[in-house]
Symmetry: C2
Subunit: 343 residues, 2 copies
């Protein structure tokens, strides 16, 4: 079990990053975007965990930076994360986010597309404001990291959307992990580590630094997220339970099911996955959900997530070797366990 | 009449900028985004005018830079412009772009949202590559300009979307021009001028430099664009004729019509504008189209566009005073006339 420090630190750093993000959003709203302001603040106002921005701050502090040094990058991450959520929810036709209707359900697709764009482009502001605190050279290095992270994220999203559009069935664990490395890990864990280390050390990073640790933790995080979509507590989960089944997502469990089910079942599953959301029935969703249990797909996914978390534990000792003990270092060390035990 | 040099220069600089953009897109596609590549290249491959990137190159050259100095910024503009088109077409539910179906009509909204995001984020790459050619300080200044331009554009788009969502009727010429300044002028004319001047002079710009000239030319351009939507040659126009009427856009002509029509007509127009696209009838669209002629709204818009072009002619003498004659300077001088006479 992780110590109590993880939620406390998430609460503290996340609160600071969210408050700073809101100041950036307010400036924009004050400039006269009367039609944008409230929709722009909608997702950032809903209580999220702010894992990504907290991680960026904690890593920077581990490497000797102050919280203030990392704050602009943390704000950019908050804004980008919310931008990705707004557009992901349109792309997945999701109905709920953080316990409330998704933005496009509330305001329609046109305004939601525009709000996502605004949040992406607003993230450039704090990244340019890094100059005052970090100087031009480190500011440019962080922008380089943002560019790499953003293009990996977009590619990962494209892979997943492609699977659904062409109803791709012939997938294995490797395909899933490659997609998750791009879609989830780069912006959730790899970038926060790389940006944090850059801010702390002020030296250029090697191309693969923190990529292994970030991948192991991020992939475990995504698998756990997908598991919670099936078995989470409806009151605490914040998204629609079984939403991934309605949306036809190729989660690790679904890929495993396609590979172990009978050829007859596989045929039915293929048809089910190819249907648009509104043509799927409650009955079919329940059937798929039972099949996942029947073939032990959730346990299989739990097993892989635990393996990844174990690999992350080992990689931590390499990536953070020689750093002095601190609350921030403890937070990062306990992250692999936390991602598996969170609900 | 503008001389023949305008189309020749657009063809030359536009061709160079489009070819350089494709190289950036290819790098991305080669990195393994098998599901993204062809959709990403779809709009950039369709023949556009590349007005914005050509303008950036021409202004930079007027101020003493080489074409190569301006090329990365021109590429970023190409990518951003195509990104805006992809997302605008979703937001407006447009059916045609550059003579072919829009991207979301071809591939669905999810993939089109993702492609637009990819094009936005890819534009960061050439902007960071500016470092080799222009150094860190000018690179950062251009990024500052991009940030300002992008946030103006998004705000302008939000204003227009808001008018449609809340079926806003009570609008005047000033509201229209403020929206167009933000939505169109910043990225079409103001940013290309400011970036070009920055690249040429390597000195920081004053806050309002080129804003007047860019506004006058850009607003005339947008009004002419809206006029062509009503009276353009279907073979050459590339978008659906009367598409703005189907989409319920608040063009200058529509705003004028709402202000001069009878109260009974205004009531019917209000109802028409509030209908979603698929609930409007061919018959109603023809009725509105006739009303625009009846009240001389197109002539009214032509008059304002001519006035703006005249103001641009005067402003040109101020903004470009003292620069040596060149083909590039001639291109910019003739721009206000070109935007009115193009078809």
């Amino acid at each position: 079990m992780p110590s109590l420090s993880t939620p406390v630190l998430l609460e503290e750093y996340g609160g600071i990053a969210r408050a700073a993000s809101r100041r950036y959003l307010d400036v924009h709203a004050d400039r006269g975007a009367e039609y944008l302001g409230s929709a722009l603040r909608e997702y950032p106002q809903r209580s999220g965990r702010s894992l990504r921005s907290s991680l960026c701050i904690a890593v920077a502090r581990c490497f000797g930076a102050s919280l203030k040094d990392a704050l602009n990058s943390a704000v950019a991450l908050e804004l980008l994360h919310n931008a990705f959520l707004v557009h992901d929810d349109i792309e997945d036709d999701s109905e709920e986010r953080r316990g409330r209707p998704t933005l496009h359900v509330m305001h329609g697709v046109p305004i939601a597309v525009n709000v996502g764009d605004a949040l992406v482009l607003l993230s450039l502001r704090p990244l340019l404001d890094n100059r005052q605190q970090l100087g031009l050279r480190v500011t440019a290095c962080i922008l380089e990291e943002v560019e790499r992270m953003a293009s990996e994220t977009i590619e990962g999203q494209a892979i997943e959307l492609g699977w659904r559009r062409w109803n791709t069935i012939d997938l294995g664990q490797d395909d899933y992990l490659r997609m998750v490395l791009k879609k989830t890990c780069w912006y959730t864990t790899i970038f926060p580590h790389r940006a944090g280390a850059l801010i702390g050390t002020r030296r250029p990073l090697r191309a693969h630094e923190f990529v292994h640790f970030g991948f192991f933790v991020g992939a475990a995080f995504q698998i756990q997220d997908d598991i919670l979509n099936l078995i989470g507590d409806p009151k605490r989960y914040g998204k629609e339970l079984n939403g991934d089944l309605w949306e036809g997502k190729r989660t690790l469990m679904m890929i495993q099911l396609l590979n172990v089910s009978s050829s007859n079942e596989r045929e039915q599953l293929t048809r089910f996955l190819g249907l648009p959301r509104h043509e799927k029935s409650e009955h079919e969703v329940r059937w798929v959900r039972k099949l996942l249990d029947h073939y032990g797909c959730i346990d299989y996914a739990r097993g892989l997530a635990h393996g990844l978390a174990g690999a992350a534990d080992k990689e931590f000792e390499v990536a953070f070797a020689g750093l002095p003990e601190s609350r921030d270092l403890t937070f990062i060390r306990e992250l692999p366990t936390w991602v598996l035990t969170r609900s």
